[in-house]
Symmetry: C2
Subunit: 274 residues, 2 copies
Amino acid sequence: MVLLDGKKLAGRMLDAVKNDVGALSKKPRLAVVVVGEDPVIRSFIREKKKAADRVGIDVRIYPFPADITTSALRGRIARIVHEKENSAVIIQLPLPSHINRQYILDAIPPEKDADVLSSRAIGNFAAGKGLVMPPVVGAVMALLEAHEVDWHHKHVAILGAGMLVGRPLALWLTREHAHFTVIGADVERDADRVRAADIVISGIGKPGIVTGEMIKEGATVIDAGTSESQGKVVGDVDTDSVRPKASFLSPVPGGVGPMTVAVLMRNVAALAQK
Amino acid sequence: MVLLDGKKLAGRMLDAVKNDVGALSKKPRLAVVVVGEDPVIRSFIREKKKAADRVGIDVRIYPFPADITTSALRGRIARIVHEKENSAVIIQLPLPSHINRQYILDAIPPEKDADVLSSRAIGNFAAGKGLVMPPVVGAVMALLEAHEVDWHHKHVAILGAGMLVGRPLALWLTREHAHFTVIGADVERDADRVRAADIVISGIGKPGIVTGEMIKEGATVIDAGTSESQGKVVGDVDTDSVRPKASFLSPVPGGVGPMTVAVLMRNVAALAQK
């Protein structure tokens, strides 16, 4: 079993981004909108800040109180987005549940949308346009390519259909005319189909839900699940039982997470260059 | 085996649309941009015109020569789109191969995009926004619902990942957190997975490619394939061999086709109302 080392790969990608950023006439700046306070959110932001420092991208945090209304927040983001200094703007998720999330995400125009979560950026990506790809797609592609896992002639199972993992991956694989299965609701109901897949990418957000008995001998397993357990981010894959079955495994932490941050930085650089 | 009667169902949907149109203060008009001449294109337009007449929607055809350039065409569409009288604008497909298709489709703003083919309209649909749904999605939903085929707890196979059938259906099923498989490239390579599906929707465009031996006993089969054979539109399904296996079959002609036209009219009415 080979561990897909997202940390090492992310380092290499960040080195390349650093080169690109160095060639720009002006230092890019990433604006991060943060609503409320949370230890997990803080750790996400810390990782992004660290990667940005490494490649020479400025980060500016815009903090807002957890009880801000949707319309007030949207108004504030409209101004943040128009600031010339901000090459890209992202909304740190999750947002408090009273906020209309898609409406907030849609305040970011595609040319500054490094997370590809606004409906316009999603549409551009689905239609094969757009300068940048959703970070999780770039992360999965890079992990597979670095280890020469050829997904073109394999069957991919996507577990979960959320906006951060399942949806962008499904859009990508549709665009690519790939062969894939989406298990959008209940993995246990469709364990046989997971077991028939050559590549399993999980983005459900339930610790340990993907067990060895769902995995085909020799499959590639990419854990893109994130849930919070005692203030730490944990994945979907039950590593102990999956490890003996998989030939490649991208674990949490250290796999998709750091790669996603690296692709985000690549996106910021690409948007700044444009 | 029950034939899913798209023609009858389309008639009922058109009756409802006629009511909605009757309640509008102004008669809606559908603008149809047509590039070049072709007997199949002509027959598509004839069907749309007939449905529009029935519900009280005006149709205005904008014909252009087959050798028009992409930029000239885009310029003309920009003007068509701005005409107040046009409640909705569609581009009749296929376009000549020298035309940049997505660039042309993107000339239509979401509030007039009755076919949901511009990248903005696609993004709205993927993100769960937007006033209207892609016609094929509305057609498939109506066919399944009318015959009480509950796709929520079934596995759906989508054959083909094209912009008119496979892609919008994949977006829809992702949004719905459904369980589904997309066979984007080579159906024969994945015949086993087609055979394991409860609902098979084919949008490949190769006559007879879906045969009875790919179909599970009792499955629902929806033929959304369109190819041209001797000036006629033919589907993907080999009816003779599929008929004894399927419990429900939506054939070509008479299934998805007329339903798609009816949903298009419903979309025009919805956009006009807005």
